[in-house]
Symmetry: C2
Subunit: 476 residues, 2 copies
């Protein structure tokens, strides 16, 4: 605890690492590129899993589990797919003391192994749709890694679905995009832009890739979830066919979609401050911490008792802990629980006891309110919901204030240097212009909105005709 | 569905595979030794996870996540450990297109990587105990695999804890053993024997290994969970030390423990019959299926409506589904839901409608009861609990009837051939006798009970003195 957190203004990247390590969310491991997710970080992932899993199941998806290893030849069946992943693969060459006849790839994603199974399972239109999700670890060899944001091994969910028509696959891809968008806003308190990726940014083997894009405090964008309409590409590569009602055979239409432990990094980067991490109540592993404050022994017994009773009262309704440690001071406790991101602190000292109240302090802004001891339960729920709403509102304001129009290439370049954030700008649609802008500014097209962006204009770089603006930003 | 299930009497092993494949719990994958867990099989694993995870958390454990890969040198730090696992390892030699300087092992278990982290995290007695659990996939190269029971990759939980004293570590190992025992009985409806393993059967690197041992329908034992007191072996290998209150430095005492997707196989083997799998209500993904029976269209609309209403009524209280399919007959539906192990079926036909009732049919024994439509909810809960209790009672009777005394080596040999099951028999304690008995009979000492087995006798094989009997059985 004696360690100092680098302030965000000084070095955002060091701040990020500092708060994760010091709050004990994660740690570096002795395995290059791989991290250890410690209990606080993992509890956040569990909260994310719990909520998303419920939404997937509500919409008819079922969980399954496919092998970690993929025969090397499978990856070669879809040409774009293997080209996209080849540089990032981890390869098992020996098993059980012998060299393998065919090397096995540690899955970087599971399309190929899953489509091999779909080909076996799907026979008739009656078997469709197949709506499957998998919670798993995947491995992509990364040269430059960052805790949670980019690690060689990471945890994720990957949905894989098969349908009778392109329209149905498209609807599925967009249903999931909406689940991701709402989850980001309603649970993570992180508002996002949604849209479709350009050809150069889409998933290797997809027809269309949709994404949710968030903005971090350093004004860089973070892709927080993707949903792909795969068309019939994988179905054709793996011969996944079904017999229609009319008796003809057709390839299925399919989707895949995923979010990963990167979301935990997004929570840190979006809400943390120079005192540590800060979590929205709906996902916070611990929502309320009760800290008693005493000087004399006589005070201690009465105040500790009041704190204990309060924890008892709140237990069924929220995730609460009472911190009765003797060996550290109340101030030390305040710092520790702020470092670890607990959204609401309830203090009770001699004056509070006298007034029959707790002093509630919000992690978000340290705003204090007195809360009567009688009916504590009735007050804490609304306080947590208020914090959740205020965090989202703060995020919305931040995103709004940091989304600007760039009417010219100069305006974009200047904006990227001076303010950062998202820029609405016109683009002609050519991959060449896109690449030149990226090379020259380090900004990419984060997504092309699905609506609300139709307007005539001219491309930033080539002045060619453009019918709609897109979101540019520098990103993680 | 046209496929025939091999009867248990004809070939228990084929029956096992048949019911798993046909009920769509799992499937073979194109990767040697690896299986695909399909939604029904995975839903059982999720139910197992949900219950055990709650019990681990209640007893103070936290989940975390450690890397999939372990540097080869780590495994060599504990001599017995590497000797135990060396023949089963999968080795990653290439990553990101290059040959690695040090090969990485795909974890067969995580002691070594976790102790490397414990060495970093643990400094003082104040940091102890550390009570960590991980839900993860592990890989052990297996030559002969069986769905769920023995696969190259499997899913499991592995608990890893560190303590200030041997007594505390021992208490932890036994606490977990008791959690496993109760879970097996109360949720899986599988009664088990518990005890300590002999030296030759214990975990590579452990001081003592405890296990729960169940009996399958073919009278072979199945080790269903293990809990290890690791002493200071790993602490010494990885230099995990803490400073005591007195300021001296000591190695921690530690435990590890785990159960795996093998438990799903145990559920199939313990409860299934020639019609398919059969699940205890507390774990069954679907607890109740409602099947309407009609002949005329007029009947259909009224009966389907009654079935739908019943499902609506039960929805909040149990996992229920109404099967309104038109294209298959009621008989076909009965077979399908029996195959898939749903514990309770509610039928409603014209006569039931007239009598204002449902006919409830138990998967366990097809016993039928009439259940009034009014107050259906109040009847279904107790019916499910009754099924759960009856399945456990049936399991208890089976275990009791198939546990025998073997007073002589001949009796053991004859018993193993004629009846199978567990045999209480005396053993002198020598590894030599143990090995000879195993070589000659294929039976192993499943466990040495912790109590209730003290009595003077003579070793089955050598007639040497014995102070307690142990459980022998052939096993999976």
């Amino acid at each position: 605890m004696a360690k100092v957190i680098t302030p965000r203004q000084e070095d955002y990247s060091r701040w990020y690492t500092d708060v994760i390590i010091q709050s004990q969310m994660a740690d570096y491991s002795p395995v290059k590129g791989c991290m250890v997710i410690r209990p606080l970080g993992y509890a956040l992932w569990e909260a994310i899993q719990r909520e998303l899993d419920a939404r997937f199941k509500e919409t008819g998806h079922e969980n399954a589990y496919f092998p970690l290893f993929i025969p090397e030849s499978f990856l070669h069946k879809e040409a774009e797919h293997v080209a996209g992943f080849a540089p990032e693969l981890a390869v098992v060459t020996h098993g059980g003391g012998k060299e393998l006849e065919e090397a096995l790839i540690v899955r970087p994603t599971s399309e190929t192994i899953i489509y091999a199974m779909f080909a076996k399972w799907i026979r008739s239109y009656r078997d469709l749709p197949v709506l499957i999700n998998q919670w798993a670890n995947v491995v992509r060899w990364e040269m430059r890694t960052r805790l949670f944001l980019r690690t060689t091994e990471f945890l994720w969910q990957e949905g894989h679905t098969a349908h009778v028509s392109e329209a149905e696959a498209e609807e599925e891809a967009l249903t999931i995009l909406e689940i991701y968008r709402r989850f980001a806003e309603e649970h993570m308190a992180i508002p996002v832009y949604t849209g479709v990726k350009t050809e150069s940014e889409r998933f290797a083997g997809a027809l269309r890739t949709y994404s949710i894009e968030a903005l971090m405090q350093d004004k860089k964008a973070l892709q927080a979830g993707t949903s792909h309409n795969l068309g019939q590409n994988f179905a054709k590569a793996f011969e996944v066919k079904y017999q229609t009602k009319d008796g003809t055979w057709e390839h299925v239409w399919s989707t895949s979609w995923g979010v990963s432990t990167r979301l935990v990094g997004a929570l840190v980067m979006a809400h943390g401050d120079d005192n540590g991490v800060s979590f929205p109540p709906r996902l916070a592993p611990l929502q309320v911490v009760i800290v008693p404050i005493w000087k004399t022994d006589e005070e201690k017994s009465r105040i500790a008792e009041a704190a204990r009773l309060a924890a008892e009262e709140l237990k069924g309704a929220c995730r609460v802990k009472v911190d009765l440690r003797d060996e550290v001071s109340p101030g030390w406790k305040f710092n520790e629980w702020e470092l670890k991101g607990v959204p609401l602190r309830l203090e009770i000292g001699p004056r509070d006891l006298e007034k029959n109240q707790f002093t509630a302090v919000r992690r978000l802004d340290r705003r204090k309110t007195a809360v009567p001891r009688d009916g504590l339960l009735a007050h804490v729920g609304p306080l947590l919901e208020e914090i959740q709403a205020d965090m989202l509102e703060k995020g919305r304001a931040f995103l709004r204030e940091n989304t600007r129009d760039a009417k010219s290439y100069d305006e974009l370049k200047r904006g990227l240097e001076e303010t950062g954030g998202f820029f609405r700008a016109h683009w002609c649609g050519s991959a060449d212009c896109e690449k030149r802008i990226k090379d020259e500014t380090k900004a990419t097209i984060r997504c092309i909105p699905l609506e609300g962006n139709r307007e005539d204009g001219t491309c930033l770089r080539c002045n060619g005709a453009s019918r709609r603006w897109v979101y540019f930003a520098r990103s993680y």
